[in-house]
Amino acid sequence: MFVEKSFFRWVGAVAALLLIFNLPGSCTARFKGIFKDSITPVQRILVKTSQSLKVGADAVRGFGGLMEKNSRLSEEVIYLQARLVQLENLEQENRHLQDQLDFYNRQKHTLIPCQVTARTISGWWQSVRLDKGRVQGIEANRAVISPDGLVGRTDEVSMHTAEVLLLSDPACKVSARVSRTGSFGLMTGRGVNAQGYPVARMQFIHKDAPVRAGDTVVTSGLGGVFPKDILIGYIENVGMEEAGLYQYADIIPKAVTELMDVVFVSADEENAEAEE
């Protein structure tokens, strides 16, 4: 009898497993969404608690190190005087940039601010989860931006959460352009390097394009997902493909390396702009 019971149990488990594997995509997404939505409130509390703890720990560290702080501050005065001269030059540059920012603000993109509540449970994926979803107007395949530049794109979206595939994920592909030379290419995520920093590679750059390390890479606006001219990162090194037809460039995706707690999701679809 025991053998029979055990046998049926295992057959049941295998049948359940086969059923789960063969569920239609919409069912799977809904199932995952229920899990994520039900856990999001707890995750929000966890994020807020960890932020409060961090502030508390910083305050405690401040009381303990007053003497050390005093000597460091006097060193900082000398440093700041030198910086003041530098800043006067930067102020002029800033005015020019402000003009560009005003232009950017006049763009028609609607951005939805979201909080990063968690990262993916498995390190094989480079993704994070946001605290807003379909109810707040977020759709799949929308650009995710931070003040540092492009973060990635939305992937699975449930009622109250959205999964963001980071630029460093191999499944994230972006049509990119080197700002200085105007050379186009396709940027693909490459996970993390040996030092643990996220990396990406821009491929199919024209073999004669004079790209070099330190060049800025931005989105080209082609492809209908990402808005044009959003900073992706900086070129770390440049090489030639094996066949010698194209160049490639390894990129440090700035917004992913310095991922913030708050990011913005583009609410508009870029197709109309791309077609124009």
Binding site: S6, R9, A13, A16, L17, I20, F21, L23, T28, F31, K32, F35, K36, I39, V42, Q43, L46, V47, S50, A118, R119, T120, I121, S122, G123, W124, W125, Q126, S127, R129, D155, E156, E163, L165, P170, A171, G191, V192, A194, Q195, G196, Y197
Partner: protein
């Protein structure tokens, strides 16, 4: 361990695994909290509850990552069944047992996902990343799994202790 307790600790484990930072230096290796809990559950419960825990852990794991639903269930079932099978041969309450089982389990987990991803083409798997994750998995398994298991066992005794105090 009751089913309710198993569900609770697996949900807490999932929440913590998504909240705690991964080891970037070891190929973004996540802390193996769910694996640790499955080891603990397999050592302390019968086959039916182990099966329930393995399926739930697999579902929770896949719900919180972009992987297809059900991908992790065979690994957790295999791990649970294997440990359940040898549990009479090992000292179940020794931290060293958890450390050895944890190291082996996390290494097997890395191999399992690498194989599945390589065969299905879901993720690029290269030798360097695999070596990093294996080295990290060996350490993470040996360090994290004993802690997770001991904490789960302490939690299990908590309600009964409180009950006794109030009675």
């Amino acid at each position: 361990m009751s089913r309710r307790f198993i569900t609770l600790i697996l949900i807490i484990g999932t929440l913590l695994q998504t909240a705690l930072p991964a080891w970037n230096a070891f190929g973004v290796l996540e802390l193996p909290l769910l694996t640790g809990l499955i080891i603990c559950i397999a050592l302390h419960t019968d086959r039916t509850k182990m099966l329930y825990a393995a399926v739930l852990a697999g579902l929770l794991h896949d719900a919180f990552c972009p992987a297809p639903l059900g991908l992790s269930i065979p690994f957790f079932i295999g791990l649970g069944a294997g440990i359940n099978w040898i549990r009479d041969e090992v000292f179940g309450d020794q931290p060293a047992t958890y450390a050895v089982l944890g190291a082996v389990a996390v290494v097997l987990e890395v191999f399992y996902y690498a194989l599945v991803f390589k065969l299905s083409g879901l993720r690029p798997v290269h030798g360097g990343l695999l070596a990093l994750r294996l080295a990290g998995g060996l350490m993470a398994g040996a360090l994290v799994v004993p802690l997770v298991s001991l904490m789960a066992l302490q939690l299990r005794h908590l309600p009964s202790r409180n009950r006794r105090r109030f009675i």
